[in-house]
Amino acid sequence: MSSDAQHEAHALVREARDLYLASDSATRLLEELEMRLQEPLRLAIAGIVKAGKSTLLNAMLGERIAPTDAGECTRVVTWYRYADSPSITLHPHVGPPRRLRVHRVDGQVQVDLGDLSAEDVERIDIGWPSRVLKSAILIDTPGIASLSQDVSLRSTAFLAPDHSPGSADAIVYLIRHLHPMDVGFLEAFRDTAAGASRTVNAVAVLSRADELGSGRIDSLISARKVATRYERDGQFASLALGVIPVAGLVAEGARTLRESEFAAFRTLAELDRNHRERLLVSADRFVKPGEDQVLDDAVRAQLLSRFGVFGVRLATSLIRAGVEDSSDLAGQMVQQSGLMALREFIERHFIPRSTTLKIRSVLDALEHLLREEPQSGTTSVLAGIERLRLTNHSLRELSLLSQAQATGLPLADEDAVAAVRIVGGQGTDAAVRMDMVDATPDAIGERVNADLAHWRTLMNAPLTGRPAIEVCKVVIRSLEEIASQT
């Protein structure tokens, strides 16, 4: 079904291309849109300055590619897409794209802008042979609320342009503590991504989660609590699908854990408890040269910069709890860091919908173009867009979900919760939609029939209002689809 929609969308873009042959900029845009339909999902990583965006990106890739630094670091929007061999392409605002030499220091890719300043660069494209990038294009953005206003403006302009649909299909927004700036930005993103308030494409990450609890070993547990509070926060719930605490540095370190580091951790873990705790009192103490230090000064400094105080504490306590080898340690650390939870979330909510999200972004961009620069014949394309939006069920599911997120559904509480679940609010799998994860297909089928009866009754009830009937229609259609699958 989705591929039909994709074909239709494709056809619409091609139809529009014929109309705009005269305009270079429009043609370029339409070419891009056409390409975008073929590409994987565009997932942007955004957040206020120093939230750990590049670190998280590295963790997701499992390689330290994006440069990270103590100071503000990412200044240009950077795209990471799949390629067979590493490549860097720089797209200036003016002039043709330039190929740059791939130069890595300490694993991290160094981009030399040459004679251009950050303002002149529209984006940097990095091609990388990483499996993760096959299912999604990752976009690293400069921080919002950056002290250099223009850096932060570049991000806002890219993700949430005032007057045109954004370039990202979905967004991972990193927050540290709920900041008014964050809410403002997410709202802006929802407004544009939505076009007309349809949003289910943002997930918030409570980043640097280990620092909330001052790096104590139970930090992530309290971070989870904070995240839950944010999720319940009414204002926030309408902006993001969920809040997931992630300790980015630990995740990045674990994904790239080396055998030598494992050995170092083991040495630390073998120390007697008092001794180890004395070393870990502060970052300064840990790296300070002294007699009671066990490892090389350089090794300790390296461990600290790669894992942070919390990471070192976590690794040693995991080893003491019985972790035997480096891959086991890496696995457990990734699990603890919250990266797995984030990945599961993306796999459950964004990847299955990637075609739909993409089509929606493309249609929005196309509609924007058609409305801004009308030509003879654009009305028929516009009608096509409208038809596609109305007939494509996954698009309608999406819009219902965002309606539920933004304003709530015109239904009784119980029904509203069920409706969100059935249209895929918690995941698109049939069992998840029916809230019967471990049930047999037959049981699910029965349940679907029962629900269908319920919703049909509700739709036909004389007291049900017009808006509620619309919701019922979408829910029934989803149920029918589930029925046809089982």
Binding site: S146, H179, Q235, V281, D284, T407
Partner: protein, 643 residues
Amino acid sequence: MTGSTSNSRTPEKRGSSGQVAERPPTVAAAVDEHANNQLAELIETVARAASSMGRSDLVQRLDHTHERLVDPNVRVIVIGEFKQGKSKLVNAIVNAPVCPIDDDIATSVPTTIGYGAQPGAWVIKVRENKESHDPEVYREAIPIDSLAQYVSELGNANNEQGIRAAEVLLPREILRGGLRLIDSPGVGGMDSAHALTTLSALASAHAVLLVSDASQEYTEPEMQLFRHAMRVSPNVAAVLAKTDLYPEWRAIKKIDRNHLKELGEVPLFAVSSDLRLLAATENSSELNDESGFPKLVAHLRADILGQAELIGARGAVHDITFVLDQITVSLRSELTVLLHPEDTPRLITELEITKAKLEEFRSRSSRWNTTLNDGIADLIADMDYDLRDRLRRVMREAEESIDEGDPGPIWEQITEWVDQRVATAISETFVWTDERSRWLTEEVAELFAQDRNTLPTIEVAGTNDLLDVVDPLPAVGDGKLGAGEKIYIGVRGSYGGVLMMGLATGLIGLPLINPLSLLVGVLVGRRAYREDMGNRLMRRRMEAKGIVRRYIDEVTFQVGKELRDRMRTVQRTIRDHFTGIGDEMNRSLGEALQAARQSADRFTEDRDQRVAQLQGQLRQLEQWRGQMPELPPPAPVKEVSSR
């Protein structure tokens, strides 16, 4: 806990002596407790002399001086964004777990920590007075270990208990000199209403510690906070917290220092509260040094408390000199008449002329009085205009956005946006008025000092050689030391002085800015709005605009009133202060005249005795004058940059 023992070991003493070495030795004398005690004794002696001469007005003045000297009540407010470690910093400074700490947002109410021989805690609440309908402030004692239930977000979410502030007294050496630390709720960007509470508290504080953790360099909202703080408070310092957690804190510190350079001289201290608290439990001075706190504590003592004490001492010297001068005037004119009876008519004439001039000086038409009255009137008018202008702009923008679409679905965002914009507008006006009123205070003080110097000094031939020790009557206040600085204390004192008074202006002073009341306004509006949801779009827009307009109108009215009242308080404080000085001078001159007239008729045998008595008294006064410590002239406060 063991904190008290580590405190008595006072690593801060070492620190403060390190600072002292960089300063002229006289400062050390002023900061030195001994010198202060001497001054306090001198005040008492002079007060006794004044009281024996029946000058109760001067005694009262000296009493106030004494109070200020003993307890300068230096308020240091700790501000910063959420979760930067403000409460923990306060705890670490006093080495006691007073302020509640949580991984989620903790502090919801400002908490003041001051010195008390016995530990104790209070919360300050407001209740409606049934008779006068004015809000009434009252204190309620609470067990000190249950403070968290009152001031934290957990125990008192959204401040549902209606607590305005909390106060804790602790027997800690560092607080003894009159230092008050104020832990404030986190500020989330300058837009939020929280920020306003903080901002109005800033105005009543002597110094500000702006806390940011070492996880990242300053963000734009933080720099904005710095800018505001520097406009409102004379003494701002930056604290880089949690250095134990971040290996790169030195790099961050360097970047931050560069950011701070753009703002001016702001000392920056890198500290780790966890290390300091650990140092207290393990009694390890090495850890304490590593925590970076000795430097911060030295700054609190030398640069904040020390400066305040210096200003206090200067004020005391100024007051004593003033009182001595006042007493001297009548004694000297009496002595002149007794020694040179032939000069009596001339002396009386001169005294009368001076008195007439003083009358003029005291009158409402005097320069300083006119400047003050005009200045306040202008200020109120400008403030009114400024506030209206800003709020009208908000209203216009709100109306535009309502017109652009259907206000129904986005009503919540609109109200929130309006809230934020209104809060920003008010805080801008607030900071601006605060600045202007301070400027006006100094202007008036300067005029006052100038005019007073033009008053003729009473030069009487032949008396000087009788009293060789006596310098010619020194001009009261040497211009720069000027009333300006003193009034500054006066005004600050009255804002931050007594607890109630300080709260009345600082926190309750702007009740409407309180997020709660803002919400009420919007909620009322929202209800009225919902009822009409079924109406047509045009009608909805009209309704929405009406609500916003009514709301902004209400805010303009209430905030305008608050700010006007604030200005009036400033005006009254300044006027009372200077009028008081004028009254005292007037009385001195009156007594001098009376003494001169009376002694003209005195019998001869009495005379010699009286002359001896007067000379003795005058000599005594001069001796006291000589006992006063010499203080450095006032200089810009921020001269020491930390390293």
